[in-house]
Amino acid sequence: MTDLLRDIRVVELSDGCAAAFCGRLFARCGADVVLVERPRGGSAVRWEPPFLDDQPGTERGGLFMFTAAGKRSMTLDTSHPDGATLLGRLLERADVLIDDRGAAADTGSPAKANPRLVHLVFRNFTPGGPYEKWLAGELQLAALGGWMAQLGEPRRTPLVSNSRTMTAFVPGVVGAIAALAAVRGARAGGRGRRIDVAAQEALLFTTRFNETFLSSTGIEIKRAGDRFTGWAAYRTFKAADGDVTAAAATDAQIEKLMELAGVAGDPRFATRKDRESRIDEFGVAVGKWIAAHSREHVFKVCQENRVPMGKVSRVDEVPEMEQVKARGFFEQVEHPVAGRRRMPGGPAKFGGEWPRVRRPPILGEHTAEILRGELGCSGEDVAALAAMGVI
């Protein structure tokens, strides 16, 4: 039983990956998520790369297919008066409105029609501050959200990772948690809430409380390249066929690593203090053993001896790793255009099972079903709306 949220109705108006990932989490857990899209072109997420065979198209966007899995799609021009009315009716029966398009402006205040509605709004910055009107892509949000200062070599160019979704999904999940909590509050006898999530703040919350640490200790944590500053064995090493990452924290773990590397008992590294004061020498000594072996070998031998070690995987290796296969994390999705595709799953296993596999909708696939079956429109109404370009 993985449809845990099957009694929750969500309406999503999204052009960005944060809102889309938020909606995905609800849909994956069984909520009814209606994605309201523009009649022409649909949600902007449909036009985010990667595309099937590098060919853009309404039904060819990989990120759309991932984020929209299990949602229903309804086209609606919400700026048209009839479209706004229909959106209002949709919201009367919804628990959550996920919104990064400023939908409140189209419908007046959604909360008036439905006091139990949780209205979740995504923005880059909290209104009222100096950055409110700033243009911000991924780099600007990562810079202002404290991420870039934490990736890169000291004093060299600060970096973001080469994945747009890594930063984009963070506000999405932050908002999803808040909205689901608010639904619980509304069900427990409260009312709906307006929830505002700013991407800058969501990213900053994800940086391990570095400002509290600075205030408490006077120490500012910044990027340290391939290691954590001051830790002898929390760093990457070069193996014969690529990189591995050690995260040995306790003395027992580090001593075991030294034993595996054939430097057990080396008087230069007898104590933690010795190792930390000769941190580069220590790296050379342990690194010699690692460099002589494959990533897989180092990873396995260390882990079988309870030394925290990981191999740095290329993205094409990830789905083939034995643990990933054994757990069945990737799923096969049948799609009318893309065919049978291997997609990442998630968010979690419930009672030993992943949520059931559902495909993303074709643009407007559920428009008629929702208008006629749920919003009380006649066949004639639907035809008229289509003729006016509202759907």
């Binding site: 911000a136 810079a143 400002e211 509290t212 993205v315 757990r327």
Partner: protein, 414 residues
Amino acid sequence: MNALAMPLEGIRVIDFTAYWAGPLPSAIMADLGAEVIKVESIQRPDQFRIVAVAGDPAEVYERSAPFNATNRNKLGLTLDLTRAEGVRLFLALVRRSDAVVQNYSPRVMPQLGLSYERLREANPAIVLTSVSGFGQEGPWRDYVSFAAIGEALSGISGLSGYDGEGALIHGVGVSDPFAGYLAAFATLAAVHHARATGQGQHVDVSQLEASMQYIADALIECEFTGGVRERAANDDPAMAPHGAFPARGDDAWITISVATDEQWRALGAAMGAPAWTREARFATALARRHNREALNALLAQWTVRFDRHELARDLQARGVPAAPVLAPADLIKDPQLEAAGFFQHVDHPVAGRHPYPSYPARFDGEYPPIKRVGPMLGQDNRYVLSQILGLGDGEIARLEADKIIGTRPLFGGG
């Protein structure tokens, strides 16, 4: 219900966690109004109290900023779970709770006599959320993981670094919060279901699988195009310039990204339209992308003359996406965050008064309040044992004498 009531009031969560990935989801639930009881023991306090702070553990265990921040709004209970009495009390709490969140290796809970089956016998509606490195089953289930290992194996490290160079480690430790966030959502979903049906659930979240979800674009690209994405510094597949450029001062940087020809012209105008900006090799988006190395070098010669904050303001006013790279010392006094009231200043009896980041979601305009940080070891023993479990004073005194509970850690095998 008054206007300020937080949405999860009435939900009780037992937190049996350490470090960051496990304590984070229950901290979020505590921020949102749940009553969260953090269970440690005087024999084995959360190691985050010790590893994240310099000094003698016996002196500093209440001073760890990461511990105090990650366990805000929680109650503190000690229980020695290696003894039957501790386990009995834990199960008594399970009977009165909605969820248990734990992040020990998959062997630990069953070894303590606290398997999901035992918990379910005590309370069929209980949700047990396990946050681990690799999940509750499979060949790697007992392997040891910290954030950087989840990043390495998931593919994140393969995407993090300079073009053609080796893997780097995120100072942020991203796979911990990535897992923590999904665990919070999944726990709430299971609690929602349990409240409706009376049926609990074992929720299984791993750092490895959580991290893979956040790099969906790279994983899907591989499947959809056959392309294997690698480390590429700050390059973007479509935009150039797109990067961080040096500004005036020590380790000062400004990000600039240009998506349209209009933004490119505005950037050129900001520079005073030097001749190089009009060269054919930078005339179109594709040309700029091809020649991005030269472009980045020329742009850096210009940006390095300016203050990063002033330059960002100037470029933004001209319609060019730009922002200073902010480090903790900047963020703690960032005017945008100050205007929002994002940091809450909270007192702690030992650690003093410090700024703590709010949960980044405002409810009707307000961040969830941080009523207190910590907790101190065992500080709510009496409240939990007498008010929730109904124990008398004599019984509580006996538990203390037997060291089942306490408030001072027994470092060095006491």
